[in-house]
Amino acid sequence: MRLLINKIFLSLSVLSAVIGLAFLAWILITLFIKGLGSFHFSLFLNDLIDGGLRNLIIGQFILAAIASAIGIPLGMAAGIYIQEYGQGKYANIIRDLSDIMMSAPSIVIGAFVYAVIVVPTGGTSGFAGAIALAIMMIPVVINTTDNMLSLVPRELREAGIALGASKYKVIIDIVIKAAKVGIMTGILLAFARIIGETAPLLFTSETSNYFSLDLTESFPSLTVSIYDLANEPEESSRDLAWAASFILTLLVLIINLSGRFITRNKK
């Protein structure tokens, strides 16, 4: 009887793993079939207004890149503070708050940026969208930096200081270098996460049918456009949304996997 229960339990556990994998496969296969079906290389050459995706893909990249340019230095600096400088309560409080912020609903961050940037500046802009993404990114980068720096052995720091290097020199030249791979991986994963975000962009950058590099106007966003296109009645719009989803997912998974690959190689 005990053995029977054991068998049943183990089978159920294997079954749930199969279910999990089945969902992954189902989603990927759907994307592959629907996405590839409407995929065409001209999608990369035309803007949305002409039935292509060029402006959206470039726009999404620019938004994520600006968000990274803001979020990575701030997040890393904060992570360095928590791990290297901060002593006692304050650093711990910041660490906890950052963890909470990491799980804050993304749409609420969108609403926040809407209230503090979009309303005062009089309209949606690429800049507001990038800020919203940066706010999403900062806690993730803090978390990675914090974790990775904590893995660097204390002896390395002590050796640096014994050689007479000042603390910031030790941090930049020794500690960060030692934790480089881990931090890079974390940053890649954070980038993969924000490039697929939709909710914080809905009312900050919105989206645009035209090619644009002007950050003070509504900015083309792949994810927001997928949402718009998928809700349109015409079959052709939905096909375009599938093609866009396919490209987006491929991109996110490639970035994600390469992040993991870097770490694995290092180990």
């Binding site: 054991n6 999990g20 906890d96 994963l189 994810t223 994600n256």
Partner: protein, 328 residues
């Protein structure tokens, strides 16, 4: 130089604090008109943006028809003020459907919708996530566990909007065939949300299970325990706190999810009678109505955002500080 570097890093760290407080204050300020207007009744009022066409009907007939509809509403003073709001808003309104009229805004429907979808998602995801975690931590050989683990984490990396589209066009029709009812409903939204939080929950649960000392497990096996007994009597009690923490964390994530739910919940402000009825959740209410809202309507959306922020803040704090800290 040393000083500057230290100050800069301190400033960046403090930014987190400033941002969180800033979000809270901003949401509160923006929600203030709605909070003043409705107070806590907001949470129990199920009327949202009564559908009265403002473009065609002149204001007088509007008020009449409006009063007829809300006769059963006991709060008459709210109504008067709202009718005045109507006049204001009439000028600003230009576009379609549900944003045409601003009468009473109550948050009950999206709040209930959010809680119910999250509940369905948890009910669905919990057993499967536990099964996957057990499989990864205890059953599968190392290399299979690694591969499956990566696959599960990839599932977590897929953007939520993809879950939404897939859910709407492929998953929901099957569910609707099986149980009947609408394709867009509480049930389908909850299930897709469940699929979304599944990998997240499984990954953290596996991590807490892996903290069980090997010595404990080995001793139990040596006493002749089966795998099931080891998991039930050794691993589970040992990692219980961490597992509960991971469940609550997944709950926090499910509460705030927007895009996957937006495709599937139906986006109508009606209290669901059955599990297969369409309704709306807080994030979806914001996503779909924010652009067109103005005045009190926008403020009411901020009120909802504030409620969502406070709920998720509280839930995540409980998970982090009570359960996950203890687990460490």
């Amino acid at each position: 130089m040393e000083k500057i570097f230290q100050k800069l890093s301190l400033a960046s760290a403090s930014l987190v604090f400033v941002l969180l407080v800033g979000i809270f204050i901003t949401l509160y300020t923006a929600a203030k008109p709605a909070i003043d207007e409705y107070g806590f009744d907001f949470i129990t009022n199920s009327d949202w943006n009564k559908e009265v066409s403002l473009e065609s009907a002149p204001a007088d007939t509007l008020m009449e028809s409006d009063s007829d509809e809300i006769v059963d509403e006991d709060d008459m003073d709210i109504m008067d003020e709202d009718d005045m709001m109507l006049d204001e808003d009439e000028m600003m309104l230009d576009d379609e459907d549900d944003s045409l009229s601003k009468t009473i805004f109550g948050g009950l429907v999206p709040i209930v919708g959010t809680l119910l979808t999250t509940l369905i998602a948890l009910t669905f995801a919990l057993p499967i996530a536990m099964g996957i975690a057990v499989f990864l931590a205890e059953i599968a050989p190392k290399n299979i566990s690694n591969v499956v683990g990566i696959a599960i984490e990839l599932l977590a990396a897929i953007p939520s909007i993809i879950f939404g589209m897939w859910g709407l066009y492929y998953f929901a029709p099957i569910v609707a065939d099986l149980v009947g009812g609408y394709q867009v409903s509480l049930l389908t939204a909850g299930l897709v949300l469940g699929v979304m939080i599944l990998p997240f929950m499984a990954a953290i649960t596996r991590d807490s299970m892996n903290t069980t000392p090997a010595v404990l497990k080995e001793s139990a096996y040596a006493l002749g325990a089966t795998k099931f007994e080891v998991i039930k009597d050794i691993i589970f009690p040992y990692s219980k706190v961490g597992i509960i923490g991971s469940i609550i964390l997944a709950l926090g994530r499910a509460l705030g999810e927007t895009m996957a739910v937006a495709f599937l919940i139906g986006s109508i402000f009606v209290l669901p009678q059955k599990i297969t009825d369409p309704t709306i959740s807080i994030p979806v209410a914001m996503a779909n109505n924010f652009g067109e809202a103005s005045g009190l309507g926008e403020s009411a959306l901020f009120y909802l955002a504030l409620i969502l922020f406070i709920i998720s803040f509280a839930i995540i704090s409980i998970a982090k500080f009570y359960f996950l800290k203890k687990a460490k």
